[in-house]
Amino acid sequence: MAELMAAGEEPEILFWVGCAGSYDERAQKITRDICKILHHVGIKYAVLGTEESCTGDPAKRAGNEFLFQMQAMTNIEVLNAYNIKKIVTGCPHCFNTIKNEYPGLGGTYEVIHHTQLIQDLINEGKLKAEGGESFKGKKITYHDPCYLGRGNGIYEAPRKALEVLDAQLVEMKRCKSNGLCCGAGGAQMFKEPEKGKKDINVERIDEALETNPQFIAAGCPFCMTMLSDGIKLKDKEQEIKVLDIAEITARANGL
């Protein structure tokens, strides 16, 4: 972003990568695929690079409002300095936080999640599913991330991205507004679960396996970790792939 600014240019959209997308090896792949999609359709985008910083989401959900607002105000200062108008995020948690919680602290932007961007591009005819891997007839089940689904009512955009594949979409018993959490939200990602009889991600994977899928589609890097761990635990890594909607889109288009 700094380079673009120095050249006197403004991006159409800022891609907010997020901590997982920046550091987590698995999520980095998703980040690169989102970039490939942006590049493929010719959108002029920018990233903050090392100027990006945690949105404060896990701190806020854990109850540390101080830390959250410190992070938020620092980020807002950076975003406003670059005159950012529109943001696409690679993570539903960043999406929810910037979209809903930043405006009250002085940061108002048009914020979309990458599955919404993909839906828009499909609707505009700029993105199809051709030139790459065929998902035709493949069985895919989609796991709703809480902060995209229930948190913000976005159920259709990710499904739209899967519909163009001509694949066989199978819903889990608990889906959409009744979707079961992967177990990572509310800062659970960073701690061991409390004593119980089962881990939440295993409960979710058991349900996903009931649909007998070839792919489990995700839209959140934390869900990705939880679901991938579940699949590993069940020793199903060979038969079932957990992929982000962005990865599936990139593959289908040969990016």
Binding site: S22, Y23, K195
Partner: protein, 431 residues
């Protein structure tokens, strides 16, 4: 005349007692912190009409929704009959509205059919709770009182409906006998079948008719006064509770204004914060919660839809959103009793956090909003959990060690993991 005076005294006493208890509950709710829920009145009204009046969130579970709908409609419509009972009771008349003719017959006939559906629904509800023992009606918080409470409500409703139908049956039989005072009025599609089991002596029939009439109305007044002590209070509070419910996206947590001031002052030394009321961050006790949280607690009818969809509870953790609501109600009720007994300044040394809700419960929450989504009357257990976490973290620095580590990482590295900020852009190098 004696009967009329007795009726007046009983009715006034019942209304006075109910008003006193209702005022106490409203006083207790007002012990909570302020929260503005007066914006967008039109949207609020629509939400109330849709969710409370229209029962839109019940339909997710069709069987109980269907049965509950009968009880709800029965409750609302049969209460038109109470108007007639009131007038008859005060003026010593009998079936004062019979002059409506065909319409009156239609109304009484409808009430009878509804009474039967209420009766059957309540019976099925009793079977679901006590014979089938559905998982949703069990759980650690479903101790003897909540279980009995539910059964008392269902049994009372069955008794009230039985009295109503027997009263009509006796009335119908008296009309056939041409008994004076019993004018020919009403249609009895259900109670006509009960006529045969009644004795034929006129005086006995009058005794049954009067007995059921008194039982019905005293039962209703007693039930009204049971509400403030019961989970059944939802029949009244569902309406304000949905009206004042959160209209923002569920993922959005409130930004604490008190923190904003401090953070702004920290980032910009020249910033002079506006005066805010001093207070603690987050909630330790029920009075630290907002009045909306407390109203939520009084509205909860302990149906357990929240707990049955909670990922933590499903996987055997201690957390149960229903328990969060029940504990909050129990605690604020206890605080109210303390005030009545010992004055407003009295402290009993107890608090919602630790004495009612444990740390293990609040830290098991994934903030997934499934409980909020599931509640048929828009109760928000997540907000209470968040407030308790805020107190634990910001006032006590008592978070699980790994949570503290995560927060330390954000402070030092601007990411929840221990990576260097300088490496943040390294993802662009890989392939």
């Amino acid at each position: 005349m004696v009967a009329q005076i007795l009726f007046l005294v009983i009715t006034l006493a019942a209304i006075a007692l109910f008003t006193a208890n209702l005022r106490k509950i409203i006083r207790n709710i007002r012990l909570g912190k302020s929260a503005d829920r007066t914006d967008q009145p039109q949207k609020r009204l629509m939400t109330m009409l849709r969710v409370a009046f229209g029962q839109s969130k019940m339909v997710v579970r069709p069987i109980p929704a269907f049965l509950h709908f009968f009880v709800y409609i029965g409750f609302v419509i049969i209460n038109i009959e109470v108007l007639e009972i009131m007038i008859d009771g005060l003026f010593g008349t009998h079936r004062i509205f019979h002059g409506l003719g065909g319409l009156y017959n239609f109304l009484i006939g409808s009430f009878e059919i509804l009474a039967l559906t209420v009766w059957v629904s309540c019976a099925i509800f009793l079977i679901r709770r006590n014979v089938l023992k559905l998982k949703r009606f069990r759980g650690v918080e479903m101790t003897s009182w909540p279980k009995s409470d539910a059964n008392y409500i269902l049994i009372t409703e069955i008794l009230l409906m039985t009295a109503f139908l027997l009263m009509n049956a006796a009335d119908a039989k008296l009309q056939l006998l041409g008994s004076s005072h019993y004018t020919n009025a009403g249609a009895f599609p259900v109670s006509q079948y009960l006529m045969n089991i009644l004795p034929s002596a006129e005086s006995t029939l009058i005794a049954i008719e009067r007995g059921c009439w008194w039982f019905h109305i005293i039962g209703i007044l007693a039930f009204l006064n049971y509400l403030p002590y019961s989970k059944h209070f939802h029949i009244l509070f569902a309406f304000p509770n949905t009206y004042f419910s959160n209209l923002e996206p569920k993922g959005e947590f409130t930004n604490m204004a008190s923190v904003t001031n401090e953070v702004k002052a920290m980032l910009d030394p020249s910033f002079v914060p506006a005066e805010t009321e001093p207070g603690k961050f987050g909630a330790k006790d029920a009075t630290d919660l907002s009045w909306v949280n407390l109203m939520n607690a009084y509205t909860c009818t302990e149906c357990g839809r929240c707990t049955s969809v909670c990922p933590a509870n499903i996987t055997g953790k201690l957390l149960s959103p229903r328990k969060i609501m029940m504990d909050t109600r129990d605690r604020i009720t206890e605080i109210g009793k303390n005030i009545d007994k010992n004055g407003a300044e009295y402290q009993d040394g107890k608090s919602l956090l630790d004495d009612y809700i444990t740390r293990e419960e609040i830290w098991a929450c994934t903030t997934c909003n499934a409980c909020v989504e599931a509640c048929p009357v828009n109760i928000d257990p997540l907000q209470i959990i968040t407030e308790l976490r805020r107190f634990a973290v910001m006032e006590e620095s008592q978070a699980p060690a790994s949570i503290n580590a995560m927060m330390g990482n954000i402070e030092n590295n601007q990411a929840p993991w221990k990576y260097s900020p300088a490496d943040r852009f390294n993802w662009a190098e890989g392939s």
